[in-house]
């Protein structure tokens, strides 16, 4: 039971610190709102109907927003050497990874939960949210996409923690690692928001889901296993 308690106490600490400082969540939310303002200006000629390519634009905003937050996710740990305090503790390093990753996943998901309705209201003309057959694959796709971003992002943010250029390292290493799932994430969200689900599209979505699930499992397990190497052990 101790590993679970350790995981929970790190996760609880991260959430508590974020609730008190709002360092990540505010900057992420403001960034995503500003991105939507840019979309509004850029696609005014099309009367802001982004139904056809909404998936791509949505994830463009979310991936940059996530990296902005992930860059800040180890700030508390760096303050006053807290990460050393964590590393001094007799806990399995994979527990640190899982706890930090879950914390990041929750924060990214909270910001997206606020941003998706705004994006939908202003840019999507098809009411995909009113159709259960469209809504659940959309939500599952978002959750799986967030899992991939949080998993890879937390791992790379740890790699970058002691480097001078950590804010550059995260996108430089993170984007190539996430590239294999960017297509599937966009296909799922775009198809569901577009509302045109024929047999071919349904097959594409199912295939994308499979790729995402496989990616999440493989990367999550691999990164949890090699996390102690990243920490220099």
């Amino acid at each position: 039971m101790l590993p679970l308690r350790q995981l929970w106490v790190i996760l609880k600490k991260d959430i508590l610190l974020e609730l008190r400082t709002k360092e990540m969540i505010l900057s992420m939310f403001i960034f995503v709102l500003l991105t939507m303002l840019v979309f509004d200006a850029a696609f005014m000629a099309d009367k802001n109907d982004l139904t056809t390519f909404g998936g791509g634009l949505l994830w463009l905003a979310f991936i940059f927003m996530s990296f902005l937050g992930l860059n800040r996710s180890f700030v508390h740990e760096k303050d006053e050497g807290c990460f050393d305090g964590l590393l001094l503790s007799p806990i399995d390093r994979s527990i640190i990874y899982v706890a930090k990753m879950l914390g990041n996943l929750i924060l990214i998901s909270v910001v997206e939960a606020a941003a998706i309705p705004i994006f939908t209201i202003f840019f999507i003309r098809y009411p995909y949210y009113a159709h259960w057959d469209h809504l659940w694959p959309f939500v599952v796709g978002v959750v799986l996409g967030n899992f991939a971003i949080a998993g890879v992002g937390t791992f790379v943010a740890t790699l970058a923690i002691n480097t001078k250029r950590r804010e550059q390292l995260l996108p430089i290493l993170g984007f190539p690692l996430l590239y294999p799932v960017m297509g599937p994430i966009v296909i799922i969200s775009g198809t569901m928001m577009g509302g045109k689900i024929g047999a071919l599209a349904a097959k594409q979505v199912a295939g994308s889901m499979q790729i995402l699930v496989a990616y999440d499992i493989v990367f999550f397990v691999a990164m949890a296993m090699i996390y102690d190497m990243v920490l220099g052990e």
């Binding site: 350790q6 006053e80 807290c82 305090g85 590393l87 001094l88 503790s89 007799p90 399995d92 052990e233």
Partner: protein, 235 residues
């Protein structure tokens, strides 16, 4: 019985060798004070002993466990008080102790935290954010944090740095109260304090041990001369 044993320890950062063929041991219950100029490798040595850095080569055994083979076992037995408090500034004093206590699986967590807060005279500030504490108060809380899991070996890296006289008295009192059943390794620039506390003294210069004696065999004047020459880089 030897609590810490270091054999042929070397540490490189890139091409720069910061520790060169370090060999020493510390008996159970001993207090080793390590002196040396800035950049001598003292903090790197403490980081290796406390499992925060990996040696390039050599063997380190702490409390019977070999570093690199069983770090978790070592971590249960050691505590570190460094010049950084290792505390979360946006958690309260009590929350910090509760957090670290849970990571270590401390039994009777609340009682232990309250006891230590009382020992470091911070009970009245236990629900205040650490961010609002002075440097001295943060360092006192850092001492409580390091003692939460009742480690048998304590590493002290410049623990008196930034402390006011009252905090120095509290740290002295705490060290005194646990001295009998703990092993200490302290890095310090404060020669008088380090010599008054220690049972063994060591000087490191440019990554090498240039002096290591039992305190009772030390001629204090000679030791001070060796230390000053090492600080001036004349060794």
């Amino acid at each position: 019985m030897r609590e810490i044993e270091v054999n042929n320890l070397n540490k490189y950062f890139g091409r720069r060798q910061v520790l060169k063929q370090i060999n020493f041991s510390v008996k159970k219950g001993a207090f080793l004070s390590i002196f040396g100029p800035n950049g001598a490798g003292k903090t790197t040595l403490v980081k290796i002993l406390s499992t925060l850095e990996r040696p390039t080569d050599g063997q380190v055994t702490i409390a019977g466990a070999v570093l690199g083979q069983d770090p978790t076992q070592i971590r249960k037995r050691i505590g570190l008080i460094s010049h950084s408090p290792l505390l979360y500034l946006d958690l309260t004093a009590y929350e910090n102790l509760e957090f670290y206590g849970t990571l270590y699986g401390v039994a009777g967590l609340k009682e232990r935290a309250e006891f230590l807060l009382d020992q470091v005279e911070l009970t009245h500030r236990r629900h205040d954010l650490v961010r609002t504490f002075s440097k001295g108060m943060q360092q006192r809380l850092a001492i409580a944090r390091a003692l939460m899991h009742q480690p048998s070996i304590l590493f002290l890296d410049e623990p008196y740095s930034g402390l006011d006289p009252h905090a120095v008295d509290i740290l002295d009192g705490l060290i005194d109260s646990i001295r009998a059943d703990h092993t200490f390794v302290m890095v310090s620039h404060n020669l008088d304090k380090g010599l008054s506390l220690c049972s063994d003294a060591m000087i490191i210069e440019a990554g090498r041990i240039i002096f290591h004696e039992d305190k009772k065999d030390i001629d204090v004047d000679e030791f001070q001369q060796v230390y000053r020459r090492s600080v001036r880089g004349e060794m």
